[in-house]
Structures are given as C-alpha cells and as structure tokens.
C-alpha cells in the first residue's frame, strides 16, 4: 500500500500536467485555416484584437457562451463532447453565409416577462432550462424589439427596470448581430471577389467621367452608373460595419486609423483603387461562402504576407491573443482548483483516521494547487502582456487577482503548516474567484481600454495592486476562520496536534504520522492554535496592504481630482476594511477576544470586504461606480447570509464544539482558556 500513497500525488500531477501541456501545444488547422483567420488583427473598442476576440466577445453578449453547440447532448453524458461551432467559425458563417447563420439558435432570452411580451414562450430551442432563438425567429419582432429597446435606453441606467434592461440587452444583441453580417461583404452576396474586381475595373472610367462632369464636359454616364450601384451597399457597410478590419495604407504615418470595410471601399473611389486588404477579404469571404478551402487558405496567407512588413506588431498581437483565448488558462485553472479542493477536503477529513492516506491526499492537493497556480499565473501574466498593463484594470481582473493572491498566501501557509489547510483555502478561493471572474466576463470584452482618469500604469500598479492584495488577504483570513469554525464545531480536529515541523520537513519521502507529544521533543502545537496564528498573521498583512492601498488611492485622488479623501463609496469601502482589520488587531491585543472571537471577527471581515468589492458598485453613485448589477446583488446577499450563519456557528457555546468537548488529546491550552501567546502590545 505504501508505494500507492507515494505515487498518488505524482499521478494526479502528471494527469493534470499532461492535460495542460496538451492544451498549450499549438494546434493544427482543419480544412479551412480558420485558426489562422481567427488570429488576423482588427481594430475594435480602441484596441487591436484578433477576429477571434471579436467573435468570442460578440457571442458572449448574444448567447452568454464562447461557442455555439450544434447538437443536444443530455448533461449526464458528460464524456460526450458535443459538436460545436467555435467562435471564429460562427463569425465566418455570420459574415459570409448569413442564410445558415440565421438558423442558429444563438439569441439567449431568459427573462420570462420579455418572452411573454414578445409571445416567444413556445418558440426557440430549450437547453438546460434556457431558451435560445434564431435570428429568423426574431425577425418578425424586430420593430417591436427596437422600439422597446429605444424606450428603455432613454432613462438613467440605475433607474431601469429589469424588463427594460433585458429588452435593451436583446436590442443590442440583435444590432450587434446585424452589424457583424456586413463586416466583410454586403449581406448574402455571391461572388463578392468578382464583383469587387469589376468595381475596380470601372473605377478608372468612373473617375474620368466624374472629372469631366465637374468641368462641365460630356461624361460617360454608363461608367458612373456601373460604380454607383455597389456604392449603395458600401455605404450601408460603412455605416454599420462593426470591427475595423482594414489597416491604414501608410503604417508609418497614422498607424491607428483603421477603417471598416465599407468606409475603405468608399475611399477607394477617391484613391482610384481598392485597398489590397479588401481584395484579400473579399477573396476569403467568397471562398468561405463557396466552400472552397484552397481559395480561402490562399487568401488568408496572402493577406498575412501583405500585413507582415507594415503591421508585424499587430499580426503578432492578434496571434498572441488568439492563443490566449484558446488556451482558456483560467478555465483549466478553475477545474484543477476544484480537484485540489476535493483532495484537500479528503486530506483533512482523513487526518486522524488514515494518516497515510491523508498525507498522500494532502500532497496531491498541494501539487495540484501549485499546478493550478502556475496556470493561473500564466493567464494573469499573459493578460498583462497583451494589455501592457498591471494586473488589475477592472472588476473582472480584480477577481482574477484576488484569486491569485489567496492562492499565493495559501501555498505559503501550506509550506509552513503541512496539514492541508493552506491548500484547502487556496483551492477554494481560486475556484470561487475564477468562477466570479467567468461570470463577470459575460458582459463582453474584458480588456477594454481604460478611461482617461484610469489611464495611468503607475497608480494601477501601486494603489490598485496593493489594495486588491489587501482584499485577498482579508478574504484569506476569513476563509481560514470559517475553516476553524467548521472544523471546531463538527470535528475534533482543532484539538489534534500538528506533527512537529521537523518531522515533516526532514526526509523527503518520509510520510510522517502526526503524533501528539513525542517524548523528547518540544510540545507540538494543536491545529486550533496553528489556525489562530495563521489568521492573526494574515490579518496583520491585510492591515498593512489595505491601509497602504487605501492611502495610495487617496493620493491618486489628490493627483487627479484635487482631494485626498472625498468619502466616495469606493473609498469608504476600502476604509471599512482598514477599520475592520484594525479592530481585529486591537481587540486581540487588548485581550478583548481570544481564538474564537478572533475567528468570528475574521469571518465578518469577509462581509466587509465583499461590500467593498461589490456592494459599493451597486449603490450606483459616486465617481468609482461601474454600474448597477442586480444579479450580483442577489449573490452578495446570499454570501452575506452564509457568513452570518458561520458567525452564528462560531457563537455556539464551547460545549457544543466537537473539538473542545471531546476528551482533549492535547495536554492543555485549548480554546478560550488558552493564554494568548501572540501579542504585540503589552
């Protein structure tokens, strides 16, 4: 058996490591070089991004998913991967084969009042309780949707009803879809490449005719007519085309002046020549529509060859972001965190029953947290490089960073106390924060450009990072405290002694069994005391980071708005965390609370931090507010309720705590009777 316990951690590491390697290796393209196309750069939302990001973020806004499943698979058949359209494939279809795209159920409508209003209850496709509709389903209702959406958009966003928000969202989704259709060519055109070649041929004659008409001479009316017809389509494309796909002709002069396809085609009238990029795009669109892989692949590589000399940087950025999108580092990290969490739970629950198994599971969890942490770090750093920014720029990235911070703290704690507590908390926090981040990403592009006042890497790197780390530390202390309360009330764990540190550290292979009070050694410390020390230490760091972060924020405000402190909700939220941490420390130093009190205070710290992180954004006021989020509000209330429940548990009389009512395994000094060993003030 012993060899099995030794091998198990390595087995888990190898399993998930192999998966990560498989995910990270570059993939081959299929018949159509869709991946290559998906990496091509365009300009949208003020930044260069690949077609793939346009596709993905549009799909998130329309369908709340990153791809389009093509078949129904019952959820219990989890081993069966359903056929799906990848984001870029979907986009190509929308742009070049709109007739097919219009039959895909991509519009998610889940608000029942809206479904009733539009009489859609019985239409559409139902999947996991959500209803999806095709563009063709919605077509007859478009006038009504747009009218309602316009009305909803008139009021202030904080005062909108849920119905208004939902209808506005639907109207936006439909508009976005319609705009995507005219990205490369007029909707549903056959043989666009040929049409464009004809247009190009007629341009010279038309220009001559136009000049002639200006000077009052006789001009070739036929030549003008030939050009005027396609111009109507181009005008429409210029007005509605969504991403700017055509780079400027002179990259040295104005690198950022990209155009959408329509605008570029209109410009060719003046230039007398169709932009080379448009020639390539027309060839791609045409070939994809005609299901001609060779033509498509040739056009893509022609375009890349054209881009390379002047727009190498943009091309690389597109490729890198495409890679980032497809690796889905945070998704994989989430899965590994979850597995590590299960293993760490197992390790703690079997701590006394089967010490060897417990140690094996603990190691497995520890290794997996390290692996997940590496993947998490990879995603975080990749994002920073892509954006050219410090890690936290918006709510989405703050969730990612808080998860990262707790992961680091958890690994440190796990290195110090090898009982699985650090891994447990790190994996739990990593899992939850990445889940929150995933939901925050549904709004669309998470790498949006920063508004003027935030456009400063100095303050983002100092204030924002420090304060977010303060949040992470406060949450970490709170999670440790929850663990203390659960273990204390429901298990006899807290009273058990930790193995002396040396026994575990020394001898790499020796899976030592935690023993209580081995003769000749100094008395071991029990898990309850150890947790108490951890919480205290983490609260100290949380105080440091939240205070320095808050004051740095004030200094930033002084630099940009002319006042250090304005009692703005976000500032107040940060101040609440500082005050709360200070209360914990002073209550502890003053002997007002012992271990259990400390834990209850630390759990309440979770509530304070969640209010500061999310709650203040929901007030809908102040310079810092990002918008009102009602779904998030519900979850915040659930979270606060759960924390209050844990605190109530923490207040149970000591006799009901399993850890303290059982016959003590430690000689003395358990729970509230123990003198506080940690004290910074006399």
């Amino acid at each position: 058996m012993k060899w099995l316990w030794k091998i198990l951690p390595w087995f888990f590491l190898a399993l998930f490591g192999a998966e990560i390697v498989a995910v990270m290796l570059p993939k081959a393209d299929g018949k159509f070089h869709v991946r290559e196309f998906g990496s091509l750069p365009v300009l949208l939302n003020g930044r260069i991004q690949p077609f793939d990001s346009v596709a993905r973020n549009s799909l998130l806004q329309i369908r709340s998913t990153g791809d389009v499943p093509l078949e129904e698979v019952p959820s219990w058949k989890f081993w069966h991967h359903p056929q799906k359209l990848k984001a870029t494939e979907w986009l190509l279809e929308v742009m070049t084969r709109p007739e097919t795209a219009d039959t895909r159920p991509v519009f998610l409508i889940h608000y029942s009042d809206l479904l009733g209003e539009l009489k859609l209850q019985d239409k559409g496709v139902q999947k996991s309780g959500l209803r999806y509709y095709t563009y063709n389903d919605l077509k007859p209702l478009l006038p009504e949707i747009f009218e309602q959406g316009r009305k909803a958009g008139e009021g202030k966003s904080e005062k909108q009803t849920t119905f208004q928000k939902q209808v506005a969202k639907l109207a936006n989704a439909v508009t976005l879809y319609q705009r995507l259709k005219v990205t490369l060519q007029p909707e549903g055109v056959n043989g666009f490449a040929g049409e464009l070649a004809g247009f190009q041929k007629n341009l010279g004659a038309a220009q001559a005719a136009a000049q002639a008409s200006e000077t009052g001479k006789d001009f070739d009316k036929e030549a003008v007519r030939k050009v005027a017809e396609p111009l109507r389509d181009f005008q429409f494309m210029a007005q509605y085309g969504y991403p700017m796909v055509v780079p400027p002709l002179q990259p040295g002069l104005v690198r950022e002046r990209w155009q959408n396809a329509g605008a570029s085609l209109l410009d060719s009238l003046r230039a007398g020549q169709v932009h080379p990029a448009m020639v390539c795009f027309a060839a791609m669109a045409d070939a994809y529509r005609q299901e001609n892989p060779d033509g498509f692949n040739r056009a893509v590589s022609d375009y890349k060859a054209w881009l390379m000399p002047g727009f190498g940087r943009e091309l690389r950025k597109g490729g890198a972001e495409f890679y980032y999108n497809n690796v889905k580092a945070f998704l994989h990290a989430t899965i590994i965190y979850l597995c590590a969490f299960v293993l760490a739970c197992g390790a703690i629950l079997t701590f006394a029953l089967a010490p060897n198994l417990s140690e094996s599971l603990r190691r497995s969890a520890f290794y997996l947290v390290i692996l997940a942490g590496l993947v998490h770090t990879f995603g975080l750093v990749f994002r920073m490089v892509l954006e050219g920014r410090p890690p936290v720029t918006n709510l989405y990235s703050s969730a990612i960073f808080i998860g990262w911070g707790t992961m680091v703290l958890g690994l440190i704690i796990e290195r110090m106390y090898r009982v699985g507590i650090g891994s447990l908390v790190a994996s739990f926090a990593g899992f939850i924060t990445l889940l929150i981040a995933h939901n925050l990403a549904l709004g669309g592009d998470t790498m949006e450009m920063l508004r003027a006042v935030l456009d400063t890497n100095f303050w983002l790197a100092t204030h924002v990072v420090v304060i977010t780390f303060g949040y992470a530390a406060t949450f970490f202390a709170g999670l440790l405290a929850i663990l203390y309360i659960f273990l204390g009330v429901f298990t006899p764990m807290l009273g058990r002694n930790l193995a002396p540190a040396e026994a575990v550290t020394s001898g790499s292979g020796a899976l030592s069994v935690p023993a209580s009070g081995i003769e000749g050694q100094k008395p071991a410390i029990n898990i309850g005391k150890a947790l108490s020390k951890m919480v205290y230490g983490v609260v100290c760091f949380a105080t440091l980071f939240s205070f320095v972060g808050t004051v740095l924020g004030g200094i930033w405000a002084d630099q940009s708005w002319g006042r250090f402190w304005g009692w703005d909700p976000k500032e107040n939220g940060a101040l609440l965390i500082v005050l709360w941490n200070a209360i914990i420390l002073h209550a502890r130093w003053g002997g007002l609370v012992r271990d259990r009190g400390l834990m209850n205070l630390a759990v309440f710290g979770n509530i304070v931090t969640s209010f500061s992180w999310f709650g203040v954004n929901m007030l809908g006021i102040g310079l810092h507010s990002y918008g009102f989020m009602d779904a998030a509000f519900k979850w915040l209330m659930v979270f606060i309720g759960s924390q209050l429940f844990v605190i109530a548990l923490g207040f149970l009389p000591i006799g009901l705590w399993k850890s303290f009512s059982a016959p003590p395994t430690a000689p003395a000094g358990v729970g509230d009777d123990a003198p506080t060993t940690v004290s910074a003030t006399p």
Binding site: L44, K533, L544, F547, G562, R563, W567, I621
Partner: protein, 382 residues
C-alpha cells in the same frame, strides 16, 4: 481618583476598539446615506460634524443619535496620544507602533486641516479666454458694480452667507441700502405668462416679467443649485423698486441713480488670484475608432504681472498644475471641446497624507516583520 479614572478611560484599548467600531458603522451608514442625500450633504452630516442628527420630517428640532466624524476622530486622537503618553515606552521594539500611530494622528489632523482650511473652486475657460479668478461651486454672491467710469468698475460683492443672514445690508460705498426680501438657495425662474398663478417676482427689469419659486436643494454631484434673491434698494428718499437677481439670469441688470450707473448680478462667488490663467488649447483625445476618452488636457498660459512670470503649462488627467498654493486639475470640459473646466483647490494640508502613508506603511512593515519573524521562528522551534 476621578482623574485616574479619566486617564484610564482615555488610555484604554477598549476605547480604541469602540471608536474604530463606531467609525465603521458611521462610514457604512454615511455611504448608504449618500444614495438619498447626495455626496456633499452626507459628507457634512456624517463626517464633518460632531453628531449625526435625526429629525422627523419638517420638525424644527433635531436630536443627536450617533457620534459623527469629528467626535469619533477626535476621541481616537486623544486616545492615541494618551496611550502613548501613559503606556508606551520609547523602545526599539515599539518603534513600529510609534510610527504607525503618529502617522495616523498626522493623517487625521491633516484631514481636519483640509476640512477647515481647504477651498474648492472652479475655473471655466473658453479657448483664448483669460481669468484671474475662480468661482465657487456652491456659494453665490450679489455683485453690485458701479460701471460709470468706462475704464474701471467698482465692484462690491456681498457673499451668500450675508444675503441669507441679514435682512438689511448697508455698505458705506453705496448710496443705497439693500433689503433682502427673499433668498432662495435653489430656484426656478420662468417667464411670467399672462394668467399665471405666481405674481411677477419684482418690479424692475427682468423681475417684472418673470416668476420665481423655490426648489429643494439638489443632491446630485453633477448638478448645482440655481440661487435667486429678490432685493429692494432704498435710499433715504424712498424705494428704488425691487429686483430679481438670480444665477439663472446670465446678464447683469443695470439702473441709474443720480449720475452713477450700477449693475446688479447674482453670480458664483469669485476668488481672485494675483496671476491669470489663459486657455490656449483644450484637447479631448479618444481611443481610435471609439468615443472612449483617452485623455483630457488643457494647455494654459500662466501670467503673473508682479513678477513678470509667463509660461505655458499642460494640465492633464492625473497631472495637475501646482502654483502659488493652488492646484489646478483637469475636471471637465465644454460639449464643443473648445472650453475647459479646471478644479482649483487651495489645501495647505495636502502633503500630510503622503507623509502619513510612508510613516504608517513603514511602521507596519517594521512591526509585523519583526513580530512575524519571531512568530515563524517560534513555530519552527515549537
């Protein structure tokens, strides 16, 4: 005996915890209250006062229900000072605590100083325009200008405080007395339509053709009150009539008394500076292909006649101009992008947070590092 108890009360760490907890509740409550009261009013009621008061709607009395910012902060400072005097010896292992606590005292006192001494005004400039004054956001003044001399106006400004407080205002420089018939902190001025229920607001000039009614004061940060007043000007020989003055009216109203010509206007209170600021160019940069603002900047010309100083300065986001005790921040702009709004702040205590941040941050690091190193060391040997 009493003194001992007093001392032990003010040096107790329980008092610290209680103050911090009260502060926590106060900050939380004050944040929620902003939804209804607006930032400015909530700030004054919760943080810039000694007590949070409660009063039933429309009642003339109010009762204190909770300690507010000045009280909590004040007791905390006393508590800190007293504890340090009484309990903390000045030793090396307490150096961190000393730094932290004095950093915090500095921060609190600095903020008190800011509350009492700082002044926020705005400077609105169109391109090409130069001004040697900035205007108050919240205070108004009645300006009475003797414009008889074409070369120099003689202006007397009566601040809002005086307009609100007194009914009769004499000024030695003026040959008439001002009777404030009514003062409305926020108001709406409308044309007087025939058959309107409200009578004309005054007898002279615009007031004869307009009505005015009071409005509740605005609570949103991005809107301001429109104050109005009706004043009667009297001389020993009798009344000259009544005037409606309002910030809503954008031109001064003039009248003649004897051989002098006067102009009357209610305008945002002005603060003059010994230098002038001229807007050369305002820029509003957006990210390519979007209307997301990337930067706002104002290129201004700073001129000070008495020193002969004359230089160009670029003020942009996160980069204010600090000059002669005032700081100019890019705050807003005109919709046509040809005018800028600069926030002008005079705050003698602006440096205290910087010092305090360094002191507390460093102090905490010293304290925790020495302390936690001991703690891990203990663990290793445990």
């Amino acid at each position: 005996m009493f003194l001992d108890r007093l001392i032990s009360f003010f040096t107790s760490i329980r008092l610290t915890v209680v103050c911090l907890a009260l502060g926590l509740v106060l900050v939380f409550w004050g944040t929620l209250a902003q939804v209804d009261l607006g930032l400015y009013k909530a700030q004054n009621e919760f943080f810039r006062s000694f007590f949070v008061y409660w009063a039933p709607k429309g009642a003339p009395w109010k009762i204190p229900v909770f300690p507010a910012g000045y009280l909590v902060g004040g007791v905390l400072v006393i508590n800190l000072l007293a504890s340090h005097y009484k309990r903390f010896s000045f030793s090396r292992d307490k150096a961190g605590i000393w730094m932290v606590h004095f950093g915090i005292i500095l921060l609190l006192l600095g903020q008190l100083m800011t509350d009492v001494l700082s002044r926020e005004t705005t400077l609105h400039l169109r391109e090409g325009e130069a001004k040697n004054y900035s205007e108050s956001e919240r205070e108004t003044e009645l300006a009475i200008a003797d414009v008889t001399d074409p070369d120099a106006d003689n202006v007397i400004a009566i601040p809002q405080r005086v307009l609100m407080g007194s009914k009769v205002i004499h000024r030695r420089e003026l040959p008439f007395t001002i009777l404030v018939k009514s003062f409305l902190a926020n108001s709406q001025v409308e044309n007087h339509e025939p058959g309107a229920t409200l009578p004309p607001a005054a007898t002279q000039d615009i007031g004869a053709r307009a009505t005015v009614r009071g409005l509740p004061r605005v609570t949103e940060m991005d809107r301001r009150d429109v104050p109005s007043a009706v004043v009667e000007l009297t001389t020993p020989r009798g009344s000259l009539g009544t005037w409606l003055v309002s910030e809503f009216v954008d031109r001064p109203q003039s009248f003649t008394l004897g051989d002098r010509v006067y102009e009357l206007a209610l305008r945002p209170r002005r603060y003059y500076t010994p230098f002038s600021v001229q807007l050369l160019k305002f820029r509003h940069d957006v990210y390519p292909g979007t209307d997301i603002p990337k930067n706002f900047s104002s290129r201004v010309l700073l001129q000070r006649p008495e020193t002969g100083e004359k230089r160009e300065v670029l003020i942009y986001m996160n980069n204010p101009l600090r000059y002669a005790g005032e700081t100019f921040y890019q705050a807003s702009f005109d919709p046509d992008n040809q005018g800028t709004v600069l926030q002008v702040v005079r705050n003698p205590g602006w440096l205290t947070p910087y010092l305090s941040c360094v002191l507390v941050g460093f102090g905490l690091i010293v304290q925790f590092v020495t302390h936690l190193l001991g703690f891990t060391f203990n663990r290793k040997t445990a």
